[in-house]
Subunit: 196 residues, 4 copies
Amino acid sequence: MASTPDPARRSERARLAVLDAALAVCRDNGFAQLTIEAIAERAGVSKKTIYRWWPSKGAVLLDAVADSATTLVTYEDTGDLARDMCAQLNSVVAMLTPQETSPLAAVIAEAQREPALAQALRDQMRPRIEGFEERLRRAQHAGDLPAHADLGVALDLFYGPIYHRLAFHFGMPDEEEIRSRVDHVIAALRAADPAR
Amino acid sequence: MASTPDPARRSERARLAVLDAALAVCRDNGFAQLTIEAIAERAGVSKKTIYRWWPSKGAVLLDAVADSATTLVTYEDTGDLARDMCAQLNSVVAMLTPQETSPLAAVIAEAQREPALAQALRDQMRPRIEGFEERLRRAQHAGDLPAHADLGVALDLFYGPIYHRLAFHFGMPDEEEIRSRVDHVIAALRAADPAR
Amino acid sequence: MASTPDPARRSERARLAVLDAALAVCRDNGFAQLTIEAIAERAGVSKKTIYRWWPSKGAVLLDAVADSATTLVTYEDTGDLARDMCAQLNSVVAMLTPQETSPLAAVIAEAQREPALAQALRDQMRPRIEGFEERLRRAQHAGDLPAHADLGVALDLFYGPIYHRLAFHFGMPDEEEIRSRVDHVIAALRAADPAR
Amino acid sequence: MASTPDPARRSERARLAVLDAALAVCRDNGFAQLTIEAIAERAGVSKKTIYRWWPSKGAVLLDAVADSATTLVTYEDTGDLARDMCAQLNSVVAMLTPQETSPLAAVIAEAQREPALAQALRDQMRPRIEGFEERLRRAQHAGDLPAHADLGVALDLFYGPIYHRLAFHFGMPDEEEIRSRVDHVIAALRAADPAR
DNA sequence: AGCTAAACGAGACGGTACGTCGCGTCTTAAT
DNA sequence: ATTAAGACGCGACGTACCGTCTCGTTTAGCT
């Protein structure tokens, strides 16, 4: 059995060239022009090499985005929850701006077509969500949030505005808008009564 | 010059067949199989006819979705804001379930590729948003929400969770989850202090 | 059932452009460069159009050769069998010269790889062989050949030298060589004793 | 400079495995499946090894065929020219049967695409042709053929029928057909008058 | 009611990208 | 240094849809 190639023989040069090219094509030519052939040509790599190591162009892009966004996994803790959340959300917004040429936006869009990519994207999100929850738990211990605050609700409400805007191309929220939404969400989490 | 066809001569039969076929293909075969050719074949219509009346397959789908979701424009007013919002959001969730074959989800996904479709989608959303804002203003007059509540924040926070889930295929929220998020948002809107 | 396209809708322009391009590419670039893509590009035609109407590149070439060699079907009858056979064989030799860029040689070579093409080639040869046999029968009636002369042997011996040379790239026979072989064959047919 | 490898270091095991595999793949899977990769896999040899020692897959096949047909170089001399020629031709026919999987037929077909292989094939044929001519010269000395018989004509006419059949897939001649053609050719060579 | 111009079905067309195959070159590790 | 293994850049393969374009054939609106 030899269905999957031997990773030991993999060319690091080709791998990096492909990931770079994927980001470059997306940034320069937009999502629509982002084809396997364009990536291959820009990377100076054969299509075969791409297909050997990635199942789809979405997977290439996901890898590329993941490589270029490792910082997002860790959540700062300045002691000011609102400030930390704003920093994090503004980083995400920056990655999604401009929406038409954002590799991350492209991955998300592609995931709507490819269930397999959606799965991979979700897997890749998991550590970030854990970082998020950890930060929130620290806030709970610090007394910034009540102990009973629902972290699932928090995740949806903190991140929801960004993806609501993304879905309908309403334009990404600016820093002020982020701030007001963060404040609302923190207020909600503090006000919520689990005994309702 | 006769670049645009005469709408008076338009075949209603063909129009309905196309819209039905678009929904049917999306539901039966999923987003990936949703091509103009598949719609044309299923509708028993020539591709030319589709291209004569719609600029793209996304536009067909948007029309089809709009036709099948006219009820969403108007917001109920039972006097209970939380209940009304839950009803509305549950309707949206129902339209997006299952995500893989939801025509609305497909339109949103397609809009990520086609800026023109994104524009059309936004235009088509406007009356719904106005309905939403109207309902919220009634809530303000009824004293359910403070007069200074930010309707933009409200829109993002009420709808955000759905599209956050959609983007990453986290699974649509169930009724209970909707309820808890709606409650949080209403609490946030009540708690927020504009003088901050 | 609609596996084969409707010939009534076929574009004559495209058909001729393809056949011309096939011959041109073969003549200009040689057999090795003769690809479907090269033909399509030269013809200003999409690959799909070629695949719609021909099963393989060999079939295209066979059609092109057949169109350009209709004259070979009919055998002259000047009353001089040797002269007529030489004329015919020299025509064939001309079609096979130079061997490296001869479309007919290419068809024959391709037929070695594609049994289906070999069949088509044989079918397309049949009327020529009938013309050959008819000419020989006239020679028999004219007393130029004995009545018992074996036409199968005649076919093999008249044409054999050309294809022997072709197979091993010995160089096509010139007119003098053709003449001597024709004379030998006629002598053989006259000398043969069926009662052996 | 070390462009050519050192033959002394050549692995005889690999060499034989490659030649065997070439014949085996040709016989088992036919000409179309006969690729360098298939040979390498079947031989348990790396592609690099093949490319180190042979310029092309045709060359491999030619070597393989030559190794397996050394007997054809020498012409028997039983004193009966017709019988000896029939024996020789029947041997060739046997090598070309069945045509679709005959390695020799494959070499000839391949030589139509690769001029370099055609040259090598011709070179490899030379000793056989010399054997042929020698046999014919003995026939001349024995009085079986006239002294002025044209050996070039003889070569074309004796071998021509086989390659005529091969080119058009008419089916190889059986022993009886070989016999009748040989008899005709001998008759022609005896009848020909060089003073014509 | 008949005429005529459009919209219609069908589907061929020139393209672009797809995902695959085999080529001939190359790199690596193990004899 | 040659070998087995196999990744690599390359280019052609045959396919799928795209959006455009004829074709006859309805069919709707005007005479």
